[in-house]
Amino acid sequence: MQREGSPFTGVGAVFLKEYADHLSSVRMRVLELLVVAIGVVIVAFAIVNMRETVTRDEFLFLNLFLYQREGSIVPSLLGVLAILIPLMAIGLGFDSVNSEFNRRTMSRILAQPIYRDALLLGKFLAGLCTLSTGLIALWLLIVGAALITMGVPPSGEEVARSIAFLFVAIAFAGVWLAIAMLFSVMFRSAATSALCALGLWLFMTLVWPIMVEVLAPMLATPDPLAARLGLPSDSQVDWYLGLARVSPASLFGDASMAVLQPDPNMTRIPTIGMLGQLQGMVRGGALPLNQSLLLAWPQITALIAAVIVVFAIAYVAFQRQEVRA
């Protein structure tokens, strides 16, 4: 039967209920504790080490997100977030739809004047807001801790850049939330759904980077000049980046680096073709914010588009399902 009226009827009610449920649930407590505890430990480690370094960076605050001591196994905050954000998102989303079936509450909800569209969208928005709450809390904690311990206020550009990073992180969380919800729609069993989501995450995090390393040189056209100089050829780098960017974590990492590292030379992989492009460039120059955002924009676009597309697939799958009392 075709829907009558706006698909958004009842989104607000679903959103508020789900948001409240998320915030008061034990699962959320555990996730929040995990994120905040790890975040604080990493930042404290970074601050302690940065206080010892004599050379002062123009972008001291942004370094907090990127700081990693050479040779240390402690990853940077960015690296930790690249692992934690998908975990949080999967944790919140893997049973959002199928738990309603399992508790036999789906038909009761849909008996209310709430459309399926609104139910799915409300659940997604509630999950995204919960993740955003956690990330904003973490962001504020970092800024506050840095203010107290380092005694240097962040500059306007640093604040703008770290807010842009927050936005990128939320978009990244949205991708994994949408994926988790897609699996929760597809599989009635919560365990299967969780396993699939975590499996995909593990594949993207562990297996895919190795496969990219192997595949890129095989697919790339050989360049004798590059081989002689010991640099990767342009085609090799193109393949490498193209394949790596299938993984949302790679998109998130690239976009975050472009936003958080104003010196573009620190983030580029030098290739043979780039030698011509970089010739005459003044080293150590920081890019203005708008140029950094332009650099990160393709990745940000891809993340946002991925959220929408995965949500659309989940939506179509959900709409085609049979709901019985």
Binding site: R3, R116, D117, P264, L294, T301, A312, R320
Partner: protein
């Protein structure tokens, strides 16, 4: 005498002067008081010192009482030995004692000759030295300055070094001060001819001369022309001066800067963008045949309009538009480029920092992709919406 003549002949025949032969002549025995110039000049109101020698020849050392007689009234005449007034001396056997006669003539003493006698008396011998002290005008203090090369040629950036010699043509030591009269803005430095110490005065002994050097530095913006300068030397009661000339040729001094002093510009990758440069001539002569060129990174293009300037007078400015086209694959960031102007006799260059921005086209494409994704979602909502 005969022996001496024979010895001398012998020495001449042998071809060498024999001190033995001279010493063979026994010196006369006795006590002598001698001086080189027994008729000395004393200047009224000044102190004159005359050297005396008390010679003991073949006598045993004895105390010789010294005295001066015939001293005109009002004069002060002392005998000094080793700088102190003495009344007696004791020359060893076959040796001499050097004495000084210090004569202080009163300022009002009339011109004329005044005879005095210096006496030396021992128990066995005595010696007298009659002298004449003349009070006259004496030799006035006189300085002479002579420049080796009185005319030098150069440009406003060069130093003009004039070597000159100052001669003290007077009878006494003088402390000579120097000075230079130049046109406003010139600086002068005096030094020894082959020294680096800056001097303002130098002592010159009587009859001696010193080689000195004066270095003139013209002001940077001096106009072309001939600039005379005068070197003055002064001492107590004497002075001299000489004229030197500096011929300054004009020179162009080029300067290259961005409009309003900016040394940076912005350009979008692959697109030509203008950068206005200002060529100015701060020099004193016109710059001719000025060529403008630039060094930019590889694969970049730079074009100037105009490419050359025929003539730029002193104090003139001219705008030149440089059109810079970055490599179309240039990465966003700052790039270094050097612009250069070259004219006859001078050149200038400036480094410019070009900030390359990338096209915002891909940003719009990104927005389009998101819009397409949203359209797919809206389409799905419209197609699959159901109760």
């Amino acid at each position: 005498m005969r022996t001496a003549t024979l010895s001398l002949l012998f020495a001449v025949v042998l071809g060498f002067a024999s001190p033995v032969a001279l010493a063979a002549d026994p010196p006369p025995k006795g006590l002598w008081l001698t001086t080189d110039f027994p008729s000395a000049t004393a200047r009224a109101g000044e102190i004159t010192t005359i050297r005396l020698k008390l010679q003991n020849s073949g006598l045993p050392p004895e105390v010789a009482a010294l005295s001066v007689s015939g001293v005109p009234e009002g004069w002060k005449v002392d005998l000094l030995g080793g700088g102190q007034p003495v009344t007696a001396a004791m020359p060893p056997s076959n040796d001499s004692v050097t004495l000084s006669l210090r004569v202080e003539a009163p300022a009002k003493s009339a011109a004329g000759s005044y005879p005095i006698v210096v006496h030396a008396k021992t128990a066995s011998a005595s010696a007298d030295l009659p002298m004449t002290l003349s009070v006259g005008t004496g030799l006035a203090a006189k300085l002479a300055v002579k420049v080796k090369l009185p005319e030098l040629r150069g440009n406003p950036k060069s130093n003009f070094d004039f070597q000159f010699t100052v001669t003290n043509e007077s009878g006494k030591d003088l402390v000579v001060r120097f000075g230079a009269d130049t046109q406003k803005g010139f600086t002068s430095t005096f030094s020894e001819a082959y020294g680096t110490n800056e001097l303002s005065s130098i002592p010159i002994e009587a009859g001696q001369s010193k080689d000195l050097k004066v270095s003139f530095k013209p002001p940077r913006d001096v106009a072309a022309g001939s600039y005379p300068a005068r070197i003055r030397v002064e001492a107590e009661g004497a002075s001299d001066q000489t004229q030197v000339t500096m011929l300054i040729q004009g020179q162009p001094t080029l300067r290259l800067a961005g409009k309003d002093g900016r040394l940076s510009g912005e350009a979008e990758a692959g697109k030509p963008s203008p950068l206005t440069l200002v060529v100015s001539n701060d020099g004193t002569a016109a710059a001719e045949e000025i060529e403008i060129n630039g060094t930019v990174p590889q694969n970049w293009k730079v074009d100037f309009s105009p490419k050359t300037i025929d003539k730029l007078g002193p104090g003139e400015k001219k705008d030149v538009v440089a059109t810079i086209t970055p490599f179309n694959k240039a990465l966003a960031g700052d790039y270094q480029s050097t612009m250069r102007v070259t004219a006859k006799g001078d050149s200038a260059s400036s480094d410019f920092r070009i900030t390359v921005t990338t096209s915002t086209l891909w940003g719009i494409v990104g927005v389009g992709i998101i819009a397409v994704a949203l359209l797919v979602l809206v389409g799905a909502v419209a197609r699959f919406g159901r109760r």
